[in-house]
């Protein structure tokens, strides 16, 4: 009960601040928009292998990748946290009896909400360009990317708490996010990759997530890729949530 109340408190505060300064949501939306407008049209020929795909078909392959890409960016959550550490806000919270898990989870939920907002915007734009997706499938896809956001933002917070400086966090994230992104078939499906690269990608949970989301957008909610994505993401998310709440409970400078 107390934990839920505390999470709500933290979440409310974070949402308030986010809405007061929504520039990051705007920045977050422009990049997928550019990809949607300037890159997706390329795929019509490239993916059609001879025969040109329609706009709608191209978007069905491309939009899921975009959604996962936006979700990957939630890993940058640590930067905001470092600013809060520096301002002394986190320390002030930690001298109160507030739940430590709530301090983390309230922030993660803010990240999930802002991600879902971006995801809906991307989907709506694609629908305006002619893509068609069933509501139920889209909602299930949102569940998958919400899990990803929870996983990555909590991981981002744990990293932020551990490293405590933007200078250390930035290269760390770039080193990890770059290969994860390339190896998840965000821009082009991994089925186009040579066999060895596909084997490597099999070890990337986000590659499974992209496959799952693509199947959902293609209208196959029963595909094994969907439940595989869930089975892989759920325990990983729980794991990072635990790690990150521990970091919040532990002494931080």
């Amino acid at each position: 009960m107390k934990f839920l109340r505390d999470t709500w408190l933290v979440f409310q505060r974070q949402m308030l601040l986010l809405l007061r300064n929504p520039v990051w949501v705007v920045v977050g939306i422009t990049q997928p928009l550019f990809y949607l407008l300037l890159f997706a049209p390329l795929m019509k020929k490239a993916l059609g292998q001879g025969a040109e795909l329609t706009d709608a078909q191209a978007y069905l392959i491309f939009v899921p990748g975009m959604l996962v890409m936006v979700a990957l960016f939630t890993a940058f959550s640590g930067f905001g946290l470092i600013a809060e550490l520096r301002a002394g806000v986190i320390e002030r919270n930690r001298v109160t009896p507030v739940s430590r898990v709530a301090l983390m989870l309230g922030r993660c939920l803010r990240d999930v909400v802002s991600l879902l907002f971006q995801a809906v915007l991307v989907t709506v734009l694609a629908v305006l360009f002619g893509m068609r997706v069933q509501l139920g499938n889209a909602l299930l896809a949102y569940l998958l990317i919400a899990l990803m956001a929870l996983l990555l933002s909590s991981l981002g917070y744990a990293l932020g708490l551990a490293l405590k400086s933007e200078d250390a966090l930035a290269p760390m994230l770039n080193t990890f996010i770059q290969p994860i992104m390339l190896l998840s078939g965000i821009l082009l499906p991994m089925t186009l990759a040579p066999a060895w690269l596909q084997r490597v990608a099999d070890f990337n949970p986000f590659s499974w997530a992209v496959k799952g989301v693509r199947e959902l957008f293609a209208g196959n909610p029963g595909s094994p890729d969907v439940w595989k994505a869930l089975v892989i993401l759920v325990p990983l998310t729980v794991f990072t949530l635990v790690i990150s709440s521990r970091a919040f409970a532990k002494s931080v400078r």
Binding site: R13, L16, A87, V89, E91, R92
Partner: protein, 318 residues
């Protein structure tokens, strides 16, 4: 006693390149703080004041030792300690884009206080700390003194029994400082025990009922400001010399009016009963031995002299 600590210790290991260094920040602190007093920790930067406070505020776990705060054991019930203490960090604690009112309401609610009660308390605190006028402005628009008052208001919004203030006046202009002293005294009037740290001698002297002087992670002296000054042997005659400090020290060592003597690079400090009457004798002695002097000063004992007597260094210099 509302706070009792025994043998509190904390060391930090840090890495500088390949070398691993261990800093013993706090090396066994025993102290007792009585209910309703303003207790001060006086010491130079790096003495271990903040580390001790952070241990007492449950922010870091001690390596050794223990403490009881308002009857609650620090190690066994840190969660309960949090309910009875307030803590105001050295570096501030407000978020640029939040308003003072928002910060106060949220902070109160983190103590489990209901929404309506939190709003009531926030309004009362804003009045009490003369912040009502700026209550709905973002914190980044506040002056240093205003922002510091928000920090203190946050620290006591849940009406704790003990409030820890880490360097409450550092970085404030003289007027804000005087204002802050008044605020701190008000906390005592409200029945709170105040435990503050400072590296200002005048602040420790004027504001604190009792103090502990801290250096290199240990308490070197403890008592009321008056008691501490009495411990120093009477007045100090400080003789500055262009050279021959060692020779002069030898001469004064045998003088019967000198109770104790200390030398620094360019001066000698003579601890004497009654400084004013001794100065002529000092001048005569120097003259008789052909030693030239730059200046003579008479000090009534100050807390700095206490610090100097206990550590061999001046707090002003360190």
């Amino acid at each position: 006693m509302i706070i009792e600590t025994t043998g509190l210790r904390k060391s930090f290991s840090s890495r500088a390149g390949r070398e691993k260094k261990t800093v013993e920040a706090v090396r066994g602190v025993d102290l007792k703080v009585a209910e309703g007093e303003i207790f001060g920790f006086l010491g130079p930067n790096g003495a271990g004041k903040t580390t001790t406070l952070r241990m007492l505020a449950t922010l870091i776990t001690p390596d050794g030792g223990d403490a009881t705060i308002a009857g609650v054991n620090l190690r066994k019930q840190p969660g309960d300690v949090r309910k009875v203490i307030g803590y105001v960090a050295q570096g501030g604690s407000t978020w640029d884009d939040s308003t003072a009112r928002e910060e106060l309401v949220l902070h109160a609610r983190m103590y489990g206080i209901s929404k309506t009660e939190a709003h009531k308390r926030a309004s009362a605190a804003l009045e009490a700390f003369e912040l009502a006028e700026y209550a709905n402005r973002k914190c980044k628009t506040y002056s240093g003194g205003q922002r510091r008052r928000v920090d203190i208001a946050l620290g006591i919004i849940h009406q704790p029994k003990v409030v820890f203030l880490d360097e409450p006046t550092t970085g404030l202009d003289p007027q804000s400082r005087a204002h802050m002293w008044e605020e701190v005294r008000k906390l005592r009037e409200m029945g709170m025990t105040v435990f503050l740290t400072t590296h200002y001698l005048d602040e420790a002297d004027a504001l604190c009922d009792r103090l502990a002087i801290m250096d290199h992670g240990q308490i070197v002296a403890e008592g009321t400001p008056a008691e501490l000054k009495q411990e120093v042997l009477g007045d100090v005659v400080q003789v500055a010399l262009p050279q021959n400090v060692a020779a002069a020290a030898e001469v004064f060592d045998s003088a019967e009016y000198v109770k104790k003597l200390e030398t620094t690079d360019e001066s000698i400090r003579l601890y004497v009963e009654d400084g004013a009457s001794v100065i002529p004798q000092v001048l005569r002695t120097l003259d008789a031995n052909g030693i030239k002097l730059t200046s003579v000063e008479l000090h009534r004992p100050s807390l700095d002299d206490v610090f100097l007597a206990k550590t061999g260094r001046s707090l002003r210099e360190s």
